[in-house]
Amino acid sequence: MSKFRKKKKGMPAVNTAALPDIVFMLLFFFMVTTTMRETDLRIENPRLPSASEVKKLEHKSLVCTIYVGKSKDPNRDGVGFNKIQLNDKIASADQVPAFIINARTKVSEAEVPFMTTSIKADKESNVGTITDIRLKLRDVNALKISYSASKGAGN
């Protein structure tokens, strides 16, 4: 018995002190990368309207996003809540078809009908701007749209 105990004492435990460090490193990596945006916002982060009847957008690769809101740089782009951002620059509604066609080239042809355009517009934007975009989208047959809204009571 005494021999057995001796042997057990002699076994060195694996030092796991560095494990937390590794895991923390992973943790920080994920925390940092997930907050990164794909596009830089040229407009101020739109204050989305809230709605109760929202649907989640699936298949992120099939979603193209159009931002509408107030420019961060009013000296260059002018004031008002009706600036349209496509990719990472301020554009006009006339450039929407080109933007959609460009986005279509990145997905396979079979998936084109499932593409959705997400409009992220500020609460104070005007419906006129949204309508302009909508008419342009209809011209290029991008018929599925989603008015981005945060889930809430809706009132």
């Binding site: 796991t16 002190a17 494990l19 937390p20 895991v23 923390f24 992973l26 943790l27 994920f30 925390m31 997930t34 309207p49 709605a51 109760s52 009847e53 929202v54 649907k55 989640k56 957008l57 699936e58 992120k60 979603v63 996003t65 509408v68 959705t116 997400s118 409009i119 517009a121 500020d122 609460k123 104070e124 934007s125 005007n126 419906v127 006129g128 949204i130 309508t131 909508r134 008419l135 989208l137 209809r138 011209d139 047959n141 018929l143 599925k144 749209i145 989603s146 008015y147 981005s148 809204a149 945060s150 889930k151 809706g154 009132n155």
Partner: protein
């Protein structure tokens, strides 16, 4: 000698804590998906397109002016009353519905619980909601109105689904999403959807 006896602090569970945090962040960050009010635009009409003639009573006109005020069927209304007004309109069932695709004539709405008044819509599949907004209307108000109208449809669908299948439409859709191959569920979802089709038209804004 005494220093050597000092027990080391057991850091083994530290890894567990860190893993827990890691998993928490992994899960929460992927949950943050884009959500919104989805709409399907109508296709661009051909140049020689003649719009069908629709009876006045089958159209529910919602006007939003540039001061974000609502005019519903020529009466001023608050956004909070819009849902009930829309439900009354859609669920009226005063006449017969559209003829079906195979040519059988339309039937009266046997699941409607509305007043069946002569001056309101004939059938849910004929009831058209037309939203007309001004170019200067705030987007937030516009979405609120769209949301209220969608809520009206959701309420009606839930009620009908409850009556026919004993579960709300939301639950029905959810279980169908979890099991896309289930033919019986698909039929149920389709049935409710065609019973109360969402017909919301966006008229071009007045300037």
């Amino acid at each position: 000698m005494a220093r050597r006896e000092n027990p080391e602090i057991n850091a083994g569970s530290m890894a567990d804590i860190a893993f827990l945090l890691l998993i928490f962040f992994l899960v929460t960050t992927t949950m943050n998906v884009d959500s919104g009010v989805s709409k399907k635009l109508s296709e661009k009409p051909p140049a020689d397109y003649v719009p069908p003639i629709i009876k006045e009573k089958n159209i529910f006109v919602v006007l939003i002016n540039r001061n974000n005020e609502l005019l519903v069927e020529e009466q001023r209304m608050d956004v909070k009353d819009l849902k009930d007004a829309a439900i009354d309109f859609i669920d009226n069932g005063g006449g017969v519905g559209n003829a079906e695709e195979d040519g059988t004539p339309g039937k009266a709405c046997d699941y409607c619980e509305g007043e069946r008044s002569e001056s309101s819509s004939d059938h849910p599949n004929k009831a058209i909601i037309s939203v007309q907004s001004d170019r200067g209307t705030e987007y937030g108000t516009y979405i609120k109105v769209q949301n209220e109208l969608l809520r009206a449809y959701t309420d009606l669908r839930n009620r009908l689904s409850m009556k026919r299948y004993g579960m709300s439409f939301d639950a029905l859709e959810e279980s169908y999403d979890g099991d896309k191959t289930n033919e019986a569920l698909r039929k149920k979802v389709e049935d409710i959807k065609t019973s109360y089709p969402q017909i919301i038209s966006d008229a071009e804004p007045t300037s």
